[in-house]
Symmetry: C2
Subunit: 347 residues, 2 copies
């Protein structure tokens, strides 16, 4: 049970530290933690945001606990060396094709959303985003056209097997929830989306118990404003998933509580809070570690099948919240360590 | 002063009819209206959603007043024959490269938004969306790879002149408002976006009075939830603009009031409500024609420089609203003709 710990930049190290305290407290037999450098921190030390030794550590592990990457002081670097590239590199190299982004409002925290409480209170959805294809990983470049104009270009595409495997993840997730799956695409304009839709429909034959619907991405962005409670599981491509999952997270209003998983075939996965590196509060002991602690719970459940300790962690976080222990992002004033202490106390 | 009137499908004809009553009441000298078929209606009559004679009418006119297209009973047709293709065809054939989508909350209607009134009440933004490039109009297709797998693909690209001309529209719009322009892209992943960003920065040298910022599209989708009032003018590409402008419109909560313009170089433009063909209420006299009436005002202002009658129309709509004349979409029960009557009465 080897977990790679990539704390990364900004608040990454401090929130990860608290999640590790929680994992250690559980005294799981055979637990081994091994740290690695990613993002801007790795660039400064090794000249690359995803050094070879980090990838080796990832490959030698059964799962990754990830903090955050991002450092605007490195914005001047060429794209391939910028911190975020570590994220793209890990996804591609480790085949992390399925991103699970749950968004639900915690009881008692409805007021943190900018949506009216009667709207936000109903949010309980899961976005299943494809993570290793689409326009993210196609050929791309900048060229000079014959007439001398510069042009930037990126190839968007999906092959049927790429769609099929993420569709299976979507249907299975729907089976475990309310048996409704909404596939989001832009099939009225894109051939990539038309193939996506065709394949999702093919796969649906294997899940007669799940009700499949289709929605254009522009309409999905509208419905997430109008009535996010109507969604249950959404499955979509890499680019649309990037936009919609961030929109949905913000609807919840407590981004410091949202965890995510990026899964490979089998049990391997990378787990991370959806908040970023928050450089403005880094190193000040102000960051809320709950999303990272909840990511550790997801890790135990998905990668090791450890439902009981996962549920214990989640219950401890809920209990700490119920006891009024809230970070600044939730309108409270508890610091990073104080929140970690509170979760440990409720474990 | 020749205006092509393309009413289209669903509620298109009934809302357009009320806008025409308003235009006629103004007794503008030289006004000539010429109707044409588009969308599903055109497909049924001529076998194509954008017949040659419709394009001829469009070309012979100085501006287009557009209703709505869309007819789900034609969803089985191949993509090129579906109603929405009329929209794409008109944009491309007429060079309608600049889509202006204002979104602001009308005083007294804050409660229609699903956002809290203190958040929605501050919304007053303009999205400038590029409309004839990007992944919409690149090469695309479905192919069988060497190993037998089907793949759907679409080429995304922007050339520098395409970015430059929409950037100018964005900066000029910002000059006429609060002198802040936010360019939205995904430059951390896409070469198309990197070129977009580079060119927007080049163009910014000509507008030293405008403060330019850049935002990734996923973050923009978040900020539109968190604090939409912080945006003023947003300029973005075709695909991101499709998603973000619909999200922003829904934040306003009164989609039956939002108009849009799609402009070519010079004064030519197409004007339409942003709501769709709403087949569920079509032909029942229930649709709110205000967005189409406001589109006619935009038309007079942008294509003919007729500020005074444009402002008169807008004031009449505001007066009708203030007098409590509200369609079902605004929580009222005024019908299509009744709303038209009320606007005429206040003109
Ligand atoms: C950092 C960036 C490349 C990444 C993405 O676009 O996938 C991020 O936005 C995310 O969603 O994890
Ligand atoms: C109908 C569709 C092709 C169109 C688009 O995606 O541009 C529509 O969503 C719009 O925004 O006008």
């Amino acid at each position: 049970m080897r977990i790679a710990v990539f704390a990364g930049d900004g608040i990454g190290p401090e929130v990860t530290e608290q999640a590790l305290r929680v994992l250690e407290k559980l005294e799981l037999p055979g637990l081994e933690l091994v740290e690695g450098d990613v993002g801007g921190a790795a660039y400064r030390k090794h000249g690359h945001p995803l050094p070879a030794q980090t990838l080796d550590i990832a490959r030698s592990a059964d799962a990754i606990l990830f903090g955050a990457v991002g450092d605007f002081t490195l914005d001047h670097l060429e794209r391939a060396l910028r911190p975020e590239q570590a994220v793209l590199g890990l996804r591609k190299e480790l085949g992390l094709f399925a991103n699970l982004r749950p968004a639900q409002v915690f009881a008692g925290l409805e007021d943190l959303s900018t949506l009216r409480p009667e709207v936000s209170g109903k949010i309980d959805l899961l976005i299943v985003r494809e993570l290793t294809g689409d326009v993210y990983f196609g050929e791309k470049g900048t060229r000079t056209l014959e007439d001398g104009r510069r042009q930037g270009w990126d190839m968007m595409s999906y092959a049927e097997d790429e769609v099929r495997r993420i569709a299976h993840v979507g249907f299975k997730a729907a089976q475990g929830r309310s048996k409704k799956l909404c596939s989001v695409d832009k099939a009225n304009v894109l051939e990539t989306s038309q193939l996506w839709r065709d394949v999702v429909i093919e796969v649906s034959a294997e899940y007669p118990d799940v009700e499949l619907s289709h929605m254009y991405v522009d309409n999905a962005a509208m419905q997430l404003v109008k009535n996010p409670g109507a969604f249950d599981v959404i499955v979509t491509g890499n680019l649309f998933g990037d936009i919609l999952s961030d929109q949905a997270s913000m609807c919840v209003g407590s981004i410091g509580l949202l965890a995510s998983a990026s899964l490979a075939e089998g049990t391997y996965g990378l787990y991370e809070p959806i908040h970023g590196s928050a450089p403005d509060i880094a190193g000040k002991g102000l960051a809320n570690p709950m999303a990272t602690i909840l990511s550790a719970a997801m890790l135990l459940r998905h990668s090791f099948g450890l439902e009981e300790p996962a549920a214990r962690i989640e219950a401890a976080v809920a209990a700490a919240l119920a006891a009024g222990v809230k970070g600044g992002d939730l309108g409270g004033n508890a610091g990073t360590k104080e929140i970690g202490d509170a979760v440990l106390a409720h474990l």
